[in-house]
């Protein structure tokens, strides 16, 4: 079982799907607990977090909590990160509380304040992770300056002890990791793949499946 799921209740799931497929991964759009049982990794995409919460039935919600806390490799972007965060502000909102970060919704402002930051790069922790999973083009990703597309993005305003910061913007984390969960406030699927984020995610899923 090597399929990667993309939570497809609402939001930008289609672009993640085509990105994964271009990179040779098998995918499945996940809308139910049953779908979730068939995947070896999951992407929780951007969209509207209030909508995602409303559309998640209790069965799917419990299955997500159980599998992600049980080690399912997870990539959560933007609204997906809000959904998994331990604490959500601006205004406060319930969440699955799976990753020990505090986020503030729409913290950069409304759509007119959305932006592209063309100066992101991996932190030393991020580069170590790329090296650990022996990405083919490790050298290229490790040294690259890549862009992050921030759309009505949440801000990561606090991180717990077990959080590793993989990418920072100024002194603010925008890409973090807690064990099996990767959380980003920007949208790698809206840029070209110069950062290697989807490649890294696929490599982690494959490595975990092989070791299982």
């Amino acid at each position: 079982m090597n399929r990667i799921g993309i939570l497809a209740l609402q939001g930008n799931f289609a672009l993640h799907k085509s990105r994964l497929e271009e990179l040779g991964a098998e995918t499945l759009l996940v809308k139910s607990a049953e779908d979730l049982s068939e995947v070896a990794g999951i992407i929780i995409p951007g969209g509207e977090s209030t909508t995602l919460l409303r559309l998640m039935d209790s069965e799917l919600r419990e299955a997500l909590v159980e599998r992600i806390s049980g080690g399912l490799t997870t990539l959560a972007t933007c609204a997906g990160l809000i959904l998994l965060a331990k604490r959500v502000h601006g205004p406060s909102q319930e969440s699955l509380e799976l990753i020990d970060v505090e986020v503030t919704r729409n913290a950069y402002g409304r759509q007119v304040d959305s932006f592209v930051d063309g100066q992101l790069h991996w932190s030393s922790t991020g580069r170590a992770l790329l090296a650990q999973y022996e990405l083919e083009e490790y050298e290229k990703y490790a040294s690259t300056i890549f862009e992050g597309v921030f759309i009505r993005a949440p801000r990561i305003t606090g991180v717990g002890e077990n959080i590793e910061v993989l990418v920072e913007r100024g002194d603010e984390p925008v890409f973090v990791r807690q064990g099996n969960i990767l959380g980003l406030s920007f949208h790698p699927e809206l840029s070209d793949e110069s950062s290697g984020i989807h490649q890294l995610f696929i490599a982690i899923v494959r490595s975990n499946t092989e070791n299982a």
Binding site: A8, L9, Q10, G11, N12, F13, A14, L15, K31, G46, G47, E48, T50, T51, R54, L55, C78, A79, G90, P91, R105, N106, G109, R110, Q111, V112, S114, F115, V116, V149, I151, R152, H187, L190, S191
Partner: protein
Amino acid sequence: MSSQHLQLKVGLAEMLKGGVIMDVINAEQAQIAEESGAVAVMALERVPADIRREGGVARMANIEVIQEIMKAVTIPVMAKVRIGHFVEAQILQELGVDFIDESEVLTPADESFHVDKFAFQVPFVCGACNLGEALRRISEGAAMIRSKGEAGTGNVVEAVRHLRSIGSEIRRIAQLSPQELVTTAKELGASLELVKYIAEEGKLPVPLFSAGGVATPADAALMMQLGAETVFVGSGIFKSEDPAARARAIVKSVTHYQKPEVLLEVSRELKRAMDGLEISSLKPEERLQERGW
């Protein structure tokens, strides 16, 4: 207009996919919409059914109404401007709305020109009855295209026609040889560059949403099965007898549009939908989709 701007505009449209965008006229309705799972709301002074009934010149909504709605919810807020009324658009951008709908539901302000949407930071959605119209709007900078179904009628027949027409024209172009594309671009009144994109990719370069006439969960799922990526619901929710339940049902029907068992379940409990209008009973000047070109 940088490519970064376009990336951000189309990016927001991408985030709204697989959702329902609801027309609301006050903070209370906006909250019901948000709680029901709407991905965005369209802030209006009157829903299309009332605009149609009351007649007169329909303009951009009162600023206070829009602002009240922006304060009431955290999801994106859209608002409408008249076709060609770029100053209404400047005002809405200044106010900070998240998306502007250059809409045939309002009385057009310009009989020849649509707004130059590249001049704005805020993304625009525009209506289209066919592929040529969609591509002309994209050439002007629209970040999202929607069908131009007859708003305020509770009748989906026109939105169905538009989505079918756009879909079949795209499929036809995908079969053409390069030399045929130039003539096709001329016939469509669209740029060759965009026609080439359609031929190569088999889809529009921006998301395609449905709007106009959706009144039931079945209508919404129909639009999704016909290729819409999100559904606008105008008068259909707050002109029905059970707005909150209907809003939730339509949201669920869009997510599970391919599952008849879910569609049955969400349709079962609903009360009466909004009253509908037969399109052929409308006088030509009452057909809103004829506005714009």
